[in-house]
Each structure stands twice: as structure tokens, then as C-alpha cells.
Symmetry: D2
Subunit: 447 residues, 4 copies
Amino acid sequence: MIECSSMEENREEMLARFIGAQRQFEALLTPLTAEEHRIQPTVEASPPWWSLMHTAWFYSRNILMELGEYLPLDRLYDPLLNSYYHALGPYLDQGLRGKLAEPANNRAYAYRSSVHERMTRLILTATGKELERLAFLLEIAINHEEQHMELFLTEIKRIKAENPVGELRLPYCAPPPFLSATEAVAAEFLPFGGGLYEFGNLEGGWCWDNELAVHSYHLRDFAIMNRLVTNGEYLEFMEDGGYEDFSLWLSSAYDAVIKKGLWRSPLYWEKIDGAWWTWTLSGMKRVEPHEPVCHVSFYEAHAYALWKSRNDAHYRGARLPTEREWELAARASRVPISGNFLESGQYHPSSAAKAVPGVPAQMLGDLWVWTASHYEPYPGYKPLPAGLVEYNSKFMNNQRVLRGGSCATPVGHMRLSYRNFWQALTRFQFTGIRLAMDFDREGTHAG
Amino acid sequence: MIECSSMEENREEMLARFIGAQRQFEALLTPLTAEEHRIQPTVEASPPWWSLMHTAWFYSRNILMELGEYLPLDRLYDPLLNSYYHALGPYLDQGLRGKLAEPANNRAYAYRSSVHERMTRLILTATGKELERLAFLLEIAINHEEQHMELFLTEIKRIKAENPVGELRLPYCAPPPFLSATEAVAAEFLPFGGGLYEFGNLEGGWCWDNELAVHSYHLRDFAIMNRLVTNGEYLEFMEDGGYEDFSLWLSSAYDAVIKKGLWRSPLYWEKIDGAWWTWTLSGMKRVEPHEPVCHVSFYEAHAYALWKSRNDAHYRGARLPTEREWELAARASRVPISGNFLESGQYHPSSAAKAVPGVPAQMLGDLWVWTASHYEPYPGYKPLPAGLVEYNSKFMNNQRVLRGGSCATPVGHMRLSYRNFWQALTRFQFTGIRLAMDFDREGTHAG
Amino acid sequence: MIECSSMEENREEMLARFIGAQRQFEALLTPLTAEEHRIQPTVEASPPWWSLMHTAWFYSRNILMELGEYLPLDRLYDPLLNSYYHALGPYLDQGLRGKLAEPANNRAYAYRSSVHERMTRLILTATGKELERLAFLLEIAINHEEQHMELFLTEIKRIKAENPVGELRLPYCAPPPFLSATEAVAAEFLPFGGGLYEFGNLEGGWCWDNELAVHSYHLRDFAIMNRLVTNGEYLEFMEDGGYEDFSLWLSSAYDAVIKKGLWRSPLYWEKIDGAWWTWTLSGMKRVEPHEPVCHVSFYEAHAYALWKSRNDAHYRGARLPTEREWELAARASRVPISGNFLESGQYHPSSAAKAVPGVPAQMLGDLWVWTASHYEPYPGYKPLPAGLVEYNSKFMNNQRVLRGGSCATPVGHMRLSYRNFWQALTRFQFTGIRLAMDFDREGTHAG
Amino acid sequence: MIECSSMEENREEMLARFIGAQRQFEALLTPLTAEEHRIQPTVEASPPWWSLMHTAWFYSRNILMELGEYLPLDRLYDPLLNSYYHALGPYLDQGLRGKLAEPANNRAYAYRSSVHERMTRLILTATGKELERLAFLLEIAINHEEQHMELFLTEIKRIKAENPVGELRLPYCAPPPFLSATEAVAAEFLPFGGGLYEFGNLEGGWCWDNELAVHSYHLRDFAIMNRLVTNGEYLEFMEDGGYEDFSLWLSSAYDAVIKKGLWRSPLYWEKIDGAWWTWTLSGMKRVEPHEPVCHVSFYEAHAYALWKSRNDAHYRGARLPTEREWELAARASRVPISGNFLESGQYHPSSAAKAVPGVPAQMLGDLWVWTASHYEPYPGYKPLPAGLVEYNSKFMNNQRVLRGGSCATPVGHMRLSYRNFWQALTRFQFTGIRLAMDFDREGTHAG
């Protein structure tokens, strides 16, 4: 991000990138009804009209205001579309987005078009210093839009889930013709040797400020699961009373949701006539034992790990990986940036049907995995400058890092060093579980 | 209501009444955008899609289920459209109506049409006992729909007010071509002699259960204002620090909203460049001193009365009228059931430009007035039977009675004995103030 | 109260009244431990240290400051001891009284002594106008102290109930040697003829502002129960599922405490080994079927009446009495001001073992009964002047009137016209149920 | 802790340790009034009666129940004194401790004596395996009691602060005769070289489970301040608008307390006649510029660091130290376990009047310093066994580590590896600030 060297003053490439991102997001909006554009089911899930304007606003406020054409229209919408940047002026309470009937959908799309047109003109005409600055800001804005693609898919899933199961809860898209595996590969722990490694954006290219500072860190030997934890495995935890056993839960979660019985399964699961079903973007679907368990919070991931480590001799010492263990495992295994990402159009994790021996499957795509790591600045961290200082830095507190991307992440947005973060109670994202453990180098052969 | 004598087994009249009510409500919905149909700004203001289905549901659940055709469609929507009748099965939390994207607007209107068609058929074909029963239930359902016409206008006013003042807050209708008076008649107290009077539905015809039991009640001599309190009068209260003087406020309001500074003017008022403006259904409008003050709570009405009684020698002893004082004054004055009602299309109170001497103006229409009376059953009260027992009776607690109807009430819905009721903190209805006082028969000539 | 004619300028009588009230309250404090002085179990139940200082403060702030000696000591404690009088300066949040370790108990009693001594001196030395003014204020302050005697007994009952049942919940006093009746007289409704009657302080003598305005009011014929409702009768309601039947409950109570299962019996009842026990000031006690049911809210009284009227043919139309029905029944029956009041030292209601035919028993003492009447100003009401204006008037909103006094009320404090008031959810006072009904004059002989 | 090797089966030493800890805590309780024993000002600050019983309960429940004499008395109090151990049975809601008048103070002390006596007997008589087990458990229980000594001092400070400033807020102890320095040494950053170091309980001896796993960790070069941040330095932050500048605050704190203006100075500070005063255990005291700033939350420490790094060229890059940076600095500097601890009887931090060049002052005692580290298990962490598993492990979430001990910590309780932890909003502990920064080895000479 600070590094713009990969962003040549290649005007055409910039334009293509910009138009591509716009189109990709807009394609996701196509199936929405007018009504669905306005619904805010919870404070953290914004209504789609807001997302589509907010992503446009990001260009308007951070680029057009400085370098391009800034219209009365922009000024009108600005206080509604600013999300949380104190530095950029007043903003609407997040929880009030679903209370507004204006700007209506047509005006929302018109605003987007207007920004699009002015951005296109700017990219085509900027020169010299201006173009350099534009390149810097544009990359941030496009990445911001990519984040909102994923967010949008999780929001529309949540919005539709507010409708009662049955005729009134219509799918977002047709079920994918996926030849879903009927079983998952056997679970196995793959060992990796410890030592002093470098972490952060080693691969180069653009990245967020929070990944930037390359730094060395000493890891102990560890091993990591060769795939994600499955529904079948998680059901054993449920059936063994995992949600009722206080000793598995961190204190804050226990008091907030477990003691009161608010959580007894992953989000979106419903027991119908004795069988577990789950809500997906292509409709209700039987919980398949071999698919990865999804929509669990950090606390559920943590409790599952603890339960498994106590109840299965092969998992003695199982725990969540740290974010650096995950990163090392991915890097050492040279996992390619491909897999079940947003572009597959499946919007649901796949089973790990097969795996290359010694190489962890499902590291990228499918589901974000919760790591044990609190979200903290890397040593030497420097936040984005000026108006964007608030983008990441002010949230580095009491959140957990997730790694790997999901079936809702644009593939071009992913990197081995990518750090996602959410509060530990969050369940509406595409989140899953991968276990790790300490590893005794004598006993096994290191990776 | 129990009295159906005025409802002849005149099939045609019934049909006309039914169709008329349906059309009247639907006409009110015409100006809505698709987006506005879905917004629920506060728990008590439902989104329009729900109101238009709920009023249809009332026919479906209370009439078609028993006497007509009840379809899978009805069963599907029933738990969403039941408002609060435990006796009629489960219902959605009131605050969740604005969270649903389904039934979408087109499905909402289709449901309404379906009910309409089946009701029409039923009215045309019912015979004998069935027709009698139908007549009884239909009248209740139509009156229910009329209540929702008023409610709808106050809800859409509230919905639009959620948008920020300016270009994004669009009026619901064009400003009326009203040659608004430039001043109001001078305030005066009109005396009425006390004694033992009858109250309740003396005029006969259909009425709600809560008006029904005709009973005698002894009133003392009293006098009542010849018009509603104006904005100009209320502004004096505001400018004299009325909202800051603890001694004017009932304890519960003081602690809830006054001490914290949450209320410093009527609802919808905004001070813009030193001048007071107010939101109306035809847009922002200067606060006109001669128009009646509107959108005040019971507490503000009560505080105003107390302030006025202390600060104006002509108002010594001024207070809010009891509901029976209001009823007697209206009845004794033979005020006709006409005035500024919903049908005027103005949706805003008019000034009391002139008044017949000795006759109180603005008794009907313009604004509901808060009375001093808690909402309680009349002696001998019997609630509506069976499934409708909850219609009124369970709310007879800690609410205040309002009388007279407003500029949003269908004129055909009004009666001298009509009892409206809201919690004392309510401000989003068309509510105003009329003062009364005890009256010394020697000093003046009684009415 | 405005009427002081009964308060002769008899200095000795005044002194005796004052000392008597002080001693009576202080005697109630004797059994307290040091610890119990400091506990505030809920916002509305103040810790005893505060009550004993607050009652002294009432003399200090309203009398000594104006007419006597006002010391730095008074000034120091004033903002802690003012309860809710905005007119008398700042005051501590009610809920914080239990957070203070100072003034410690010894300082609290020393303050009380200091006020006592200065008041004594003032009573002995005041002359002329001053004495007249003193007589006026003293009577109010003594009545205030009498109210706090009752309040104290209900507070200490609540405080001790916070300790777990068993060895740690010690009684306040020894069980009374009461030869409790083993059954109650049969329930019967006693008729009273309607008509235009006068209400308020007809008997003369001192009274609160809220009883003062004598006024006429027209009652219909009615009948009232000859005794309080018993535990045995209330248990039938409980066993018949009264707490589970939505149709018996006013909406606000249903949503607040019934739906959630928070209330399933009167306050202080506990089921131990299959039998119902209740907490009393002399310890845990079996729930005796023939004793009056106690510690019920207005809502429970209302639900019971509705249930009984539906399920017992002899109670068709049963409901709570209005406050004026109660007053008329008491006055017409010439019930003497005697019975089971605080002075009996029993602090628990007695059974109605016998009754004079045609005369309602238990009208005074034993338990306050909830009336159907909202607490409202009588016609012509004028609040206490100046600093005491807030004593009653600002609470005339959303509360219900109770009548008759209880086993915790000083007998000298009671009058037929006495109006007590609490919010409908209140249960920690000594409150019970007496039913009334409309009455058909033809069918029976009126009282 | 698991390591008991330092706990010889030396019966006499054990007895001396036990009696010493008991006496040390009881000496702290001596100045309390009866009233102060019962007050719970906030949920997290327990009343002293509870603390003195809870520490006794810890011996009773964890030792006497297994190895000694367990009486009906123990069983009676058990559910009141269990703090939060689900594994040890039911427990009272933490917020209700201040609602109980029983067990009264005398019973509380009697219980303590009874436990003391039985423990003494057990220590004198246990043999063989039993003695070994006793030694293991006793050490934990004594350390638990030591933690409560510190907690008690912060609780009584908070309890007394609830009383209004002035005559009613009495000091806990006499002001110490401390010849407080009139200035602090100049601030300086002391450099330490990075590399792979070991962390955890390297010094050996007993420790908590959370310090135990010795592990290697790679640190970068860093520098740490030679003393704590002073009031004078913090006042500059305040006067520069630090509490008003959103850009200095982590998002969660900004929304919870800064935006609303709830925090504008450290806890216990009050501005009186234009000067800052602070509450101490020996009374109100002027805020001395050279004394360390105390009673700040993690968020204030973090905001101060950010502000300082922006506004002072010598502090460019200043931030809070990580817990391992602090530990390395302390260990490398060979700071002795001495200083201003509880035993000084001062209960207030001292100024850093002088410092050995190159050695950081105030590393131990005076104030705990907030580190940047979230409280997380060390690699290889194993919680305490069985009933004590909940002691630390379930709190390893969303809390920050503090290091170094304070003027309220018993000196014998301190270690270089000691990890204290509190939620980031906590201010009632003795908490202060020490800054660190990255350090460029070329530019300076490493430690």
C-alpha cells in the first residue's frame, strides 16, 4: 500500500482494475429485490443500498474531493455514507442505516454511476504527480470495495435469514451444480519445524498497513490439521454436551451466551423433524457431515479445540493455531492462491475431498479460520496516513485474527499475509475451524 | 358494536362500506415509494407493508377463517400479521416488522387483493345467520381499518422524518391550497353547568366496547377553552423556560426526558437559522403562531396547563379537561361531526379563524386533545367477545384518554363518545391541547 | 393540613406528639444489627440509616432552617438526605444510598439526637405567629415520620429477605403469641346503594392535600366483599394456572413479568419440599389458607378478580373496588379506626375469624387493598405550598390508589379518607385484595 | 506452582507462612468501620466482609474439605463465598455481595478464626503424602490471599471514594511521613538489544500457572523509559485536549467513555477551585507534578503514548512496552525485588527522585504498568488442575497484561515473571504508564 511500485503509471491497467471491481460488486447486487436493499437485520449488517453507496463514497471522498470533480451530490450524501471516520466529518449512527427510506434505490444507483463516470474521467486525464497520487489512493479504494463484496454476501445471507424458514425465505442464487464429495479426507496433523522466521508481506505487492512491517518471530515446532474441521466432527462435540459444559468456555462467552442457552449450534442451523439443516445463499440445505463447519464464533472454535484435546487421544494438546503458525504453514507448503473463492459462485464451503500428502488442504478459500491471536499491530506498525489512519489502527483491540479467505472473498483480494479480524462473538461471517498443536520434533518428521 | 341494529342486512350497503374503506386506505398508500413501505423508524411505528397486510389479515383471520374461504396463503402470513392477540396464536415481535424483506411489496398487495376478492364474494353470498354474524364482524374490521388509516398517516410522517431535513426528506403530498387564517380567535373559557349527566354512546349507532356502557356521572361546574392552544401560546411557555422548570413536570416525565434535555420543543420542531420550523406531510413549514400546537405529549400538555395557570391571571386554575367534561361540552354545544378530518387532505391542523360565540371551536378534527383522564373501563364495561377480547381491555392501564379526532381521522369514524388512548409519552400522533378550569357558577353564566 | 384548627396552640400537646412519634420510630429500629442499617436491596427500599436521618432531616430542613437553629451539621447532610425535592436543592440518586459508608450509624443517631434536642427547644420557646407556623409544619413532619414507620417495616422485611432462607435469614422479631383463627368467615358480598355522595376528608381533622377537596361523586349500586381474599382462595387461582393464562393480565404486566415467568406466586413465597412458605418479620411461616393473601401487586389483584369472576358463578362480575366505593362502604358501615395496625406488634395480617353480619371486616389495618382507581387529583385539588409542593402532586400519574392501612401502619395515622398510592408492579408493601361487583338493586337489599 | 520443590516438608515454615499471611491481611482490616465492611460500590469491588471470608473459604473449600475438618459452618457459607468456580458448585451473583446483611461482621471474623484454627491443626498434624499435598495447596491459597491484600486496598479506596469529598470522606490511614521528592529524574529511554530470549519463570520458585511455561521469544531492539510517566507529563496531555481528540483513542473506548465525556482525567481526580486534587488512602492530596500518574486505564495509557509520540520529537515512535520487553528490561537490569510495596504503608506511588544511570527506576512496586500485550497463554500453557482450572485460564481473553507490582502489592508476592491482568477499561487498580519505543541499534548503544 505504501509500496506503489507495482502500480505503474499504467493508466489502462488502472482503469481496467477500477471497472472490473465495480462490475464485480454490481453483479452481486443483481439478484436483490427492491425491498432487500433496505433491510438492516442487526447493527453490524448494513442494508445493501448503503453498501453500494458507501463503496462509491469511498472514491468520492478520498479521491474525487482531492483530485477530481466533487459535486453537491457528494456533499449531500457524505454524512450518511461516512462509516466511522471521525477525521472525515460527522456520520450517521451505524444502527440507523436501516431506518432511512432515502436515498431511494434509484438515487443510490444514480450516485454510483455518477461517481463511476467521474472516476473514469479522472483516471483517463490525471497526469504526473496527480496520477501517482491517484494510483496510491485507487488501490486502497478498490481493495476497500473488494472487502465489501465479501461483507455484502454475508449481509444478504443474514438479511434473508430474518425471513421465517419456508416459502418466505427465498434463496439468493441457484444451488451450484457442485459434485460435492461425499466424504472428507481423514484428519491428520502436519508438522512444521520451529525457528526464527520472517512474517508479513514477504511476497510483495500491495497490502494493507496491518500486514506491512516484515518482522522476524520465533516459532516453536508445531503441527496443523490437513483440512478444516467438519460438521460431522462438530456434531460430536454438540452431542457430547459441548454447549452445556462450562469448563470449555472462556468466561466472557459463558456469561454472555452459553449460560443463558442462546447458543446451542452454529449460526443458521435449525433442527427440523429431528435433522439438522442450515441456511445457505442457495437455500436451506441438510447439514452434510463431510462439509466444513461454518458460522462459528471464536469462542466455539476455542471450545471445540479444548473438547477435542480432552476427548481424543490423537488430539491431545489440540488448540487453535496462532496467526503466524498459519502463515508459516501456508508459506512453507507453497499453497497457491486458488480454491473456493467468491468467483466460484458457490458461496458455500466445499468438502476436502482429497489432499496432497503433507500439504494442508483448504488453506485458502472455503472458510476463514479463527486463530488464537489477538489482533495487534506488528512490530514497527505504521497506520495509513491522514484521513485513512482510522482504517485499521483504531480497531486493534479485543479482536481475533482470521486467516485464509473464504468462499465469499474475491480471489484477487487474497494473500498469504492477509489479516482479517472480528470480535470473538461474531458468527455471520464465513468462519471455520482448523486445529493445531505443539509438536515434539523427536516423535515426527518436521515440515 | 354489540348493537348491530344500524347494520341492516343490507348486503349492498355492507359491500359499499367494505369497498369504500379499502379504497380509502389504498388511496393513502399511493404516494409511497417502494422503499418507504419497508421502514420501521421506532417500535411503535410499523412499516406500511405491514399495515396494509395487517388490515387485510384482520378480515382474513376474524371473518374468512370462520365464514369464508381461508387459504394456505392466509396460514402462511398469519404469524407475521397478528399484532398482539395471544388468543389468535403466535406473533412476531412488534419491533421486528422492519427487519423483513418478505413478503415483498408485490406479494403484500396481492394478498390484500386476494382477501378483498374473497370478502366481496362472501358479502354477496352469505345468508341468514351467517349474514348476521358477518355484519357484526365486518363492522369491527372496517373500524379497525379506519383506525389504521390515521395510524398510517402518523407512521409515514414519522418514517419520512427519519431522513435528514433537506433534499432527502421529501413531502408525502403537495401543500394544501389552504388560505390559512393569519390569526386565531381570542382565547376564552366557555362555562358549562355541572350536575348528573349520562355519558357513553348516547347518540346510538355502532361503537367500540370501551364507549358502550352508558352511565351517569356527576360533574362540577367547569369551563373549557373555545379553541385549541396555539403555537404562539406554546412558544411563550418555551421561552419562559417551561422545559427547564422542574416544578411543572410530573415526576416520571421529568426523570425520563426533561432532566436529560431530550425534549425542548414539540416533536418535529427544528430551529433553523433562529426560526422554528416543523415537519408536516407536505414538507417543512414555518411554525405559525396562530396554528394549534401539535405533536405534544400528555406531559407537555399538563406542564403547559400548570405554567399557564400560574402565569396568567385569566387562567388561574387552568388544567386539562377530564374526558367527561370534554364529552359534555361537545354534546351540550351540539358540535356537528365535521371539520378538518382526513378527508380534507390537509393532514395538518387549521387555525381557529372564527368561532360561533359560546360554542367551542375545533372540538372535532384538527387535533386529538389530551384529557386528564386515565384510560379506564366505564362502569359496567364488557369487552368484545372471544378472539377480540384483547382489542381494548388489556390496555386499560397507565394510558390517557384523548378526545375529538384529528386531521388524520376518517370523518366517518368519529363520534362524540369516541375514546382514543395513548401512553402519556406519545408524541407522534396528531395531539394538541385544550384547557379547562373549575368554574364558579356565581361569577359567570353557565352553558 | 391546610386546616390546622384541630392543632391548638397547645405547646405541651405538640411536644408530646413530637416525642411520641420519635420514640415510636426509634423503637422500631432497636432490633437492627449495625450491618442491616446499611443495606439497600432495591432502589425503592432505602437503607435504615438513611430513613432515620431523612425523617430527622425533614424537621431540620422544613422547620429548623426557618424557625429554629440550623447548624453546619444540617448543611453537611442536607444533599444526602433530601429525597426528591428539586425545590430544596440537590439530592443523591435514590439508588446510591446503599453505597455510602458515611455518615456511619453513630453519626446518624447523633444527628437525630441533635435535631430532636433543637426541635424540643423550639417547641418550648416559639411564640405567637411562629408557634402557629410551627404547629402547621410540625403536623406535616410528624405525619411524614409516621409514613416512614410503615415504610421502614417493609424495607427491613425486604432487606432480611435478601439473605438466603435458613440460618442466615434471622427474624426481625419474635413470633406474636397470636391465637390465629384456623378459618376465615365465609366470603359474602355486602350491597351498598348508589347515588350522589360526598368524598374526601368528611370526618375533619388533619389530612394530606390529596384527600382534602371534599367533592360529590355519583356511585352506582355496588357490593363489596365482607373480608380480604385469603391465601387459600388465591392458591386456587395459582393452581388453576392463573399465572400462565395471558387473558387474565393487563398487557404491560404480561410483557414485563408474566411472559418471562418472573412471577409465579406472591412476593416472599417459597415452595419448600412441596409446601408453600412465606417470609414474615418473625421468620418463615407456612402459608395459612385462612390468612389474607399479602404482597401481591395491583396486576395480581386485577388478574385474580378476573379469574374469579369467570370461574365462580357467585362472583360473576367481580372486580376491584374503586377508591370511592371502598370509602363509601367504610363510611356507611361506620367501621372504627382500630384493628391490626403497627401497634399490635404482629406485623402480619390476621385471619378474619368472625364478622358482624352486614359489616365488612378487615376494612382498616391488616392489609392495604388495591383499588381500581388511578391516583388522580380530586376535583379542586390544591397541592401543599412552596417547598412541599412536590410531596404528593408530582406523583399523580400511572399509580393506583390503595385504601385502609395495614399491619404496619401506625393507627393514629389512619383515616377513612386516607389515599395511599404505589405503582402497579409494587409488591413489597403489605398489600392485599378485596373484591367488589356491580349490584342489581332489585335482586338484593342495599346497605 | 506445579513446582513445589522450594516447599520443603518443613512444617514450621509452612505454619509461619500461613500465619504471616493471615496476620498481614487482618492488619489491613483493622482501620475499617463496621459500616465499611458492607459496602460494594461497583460490581467489581467487593465489600470487605466478603473478602475476609472468601480468603478463608479458599482454605476451607480447597484444603480442609479434602484434608482436614469440614464443618456445617463451611457448608452454610460455601455458596456465598465461592467467587466464580463453576466446578466448585453454585455461587452468588458478584453484584449481590453488597446486598447481604448476613453473615454479619462478627460472624465473618468468627468463621475466619475457625478456619485459621483448623488449618493450624492440619499443618501441625499432616503427614507423608498428605503433607505433600497440603504444601502444594497451601502455597496456592496463601498466594490467593496475597492477591486479595492488594485487591482489598483498591476496594477500600473505592468504597471511601463513594462518600462525598469533605468531612464525610475519611482517610483510611494517616499520611505517610514521606519526604516526597520535589522533582523526578529527567525522562530518558534506555536501550536493550533484541534477539532470542527466554521468558517465564526463569528465576524458579513458586509461580502461577500463567507464568510457568518457559519459552523462547525473539525481540527486536527496543528502548524503555527510565521511570514512570508523571502527573506533570500527563497534565500536558490533558491540557492539550488529549481527552477530546478522537484520533488518540481505540474505537471501543472512544464509543464507551470518551465521546460521552465520561472520562476527562484519571480516576479519583477532582478539580477544586482551579487546582487538581486526587483521592488517596490517606486523604485528598494535591496532584503533584513529579509523582507518577496513577489510576489510568489501558486506553488512557495507550492514548497518552500516541499523543506523546506525535508531539515530542524525542518520543517519536513511543508506545507501550510489550510484556516481554518489560520482562527483559527488568531481568537485564537485575532490578532487585524491593521498592515501594504494600509493606511501606504508603499506599501511594513515590516520585522517582533519583536513578542509577542506565537502570530503569520504578520497575517494581509503585505502580503496575499497562503493557501492549493481550493476556494470552504462553506456548505450552497448562492450567492448574481440577477445581482450580478456572483460576486463570478462562480469563485469557480480551484483557491486557500489567507488570511490576504496586504500592499495594505484598513484596513477597512479586516476581519478574509475574503477570497481572485486567480489562482495558479498569481504573481502580494502582496502574500507571511506562513508555517504550523501537530502537535503531546503529543510532545508540544497546543495553
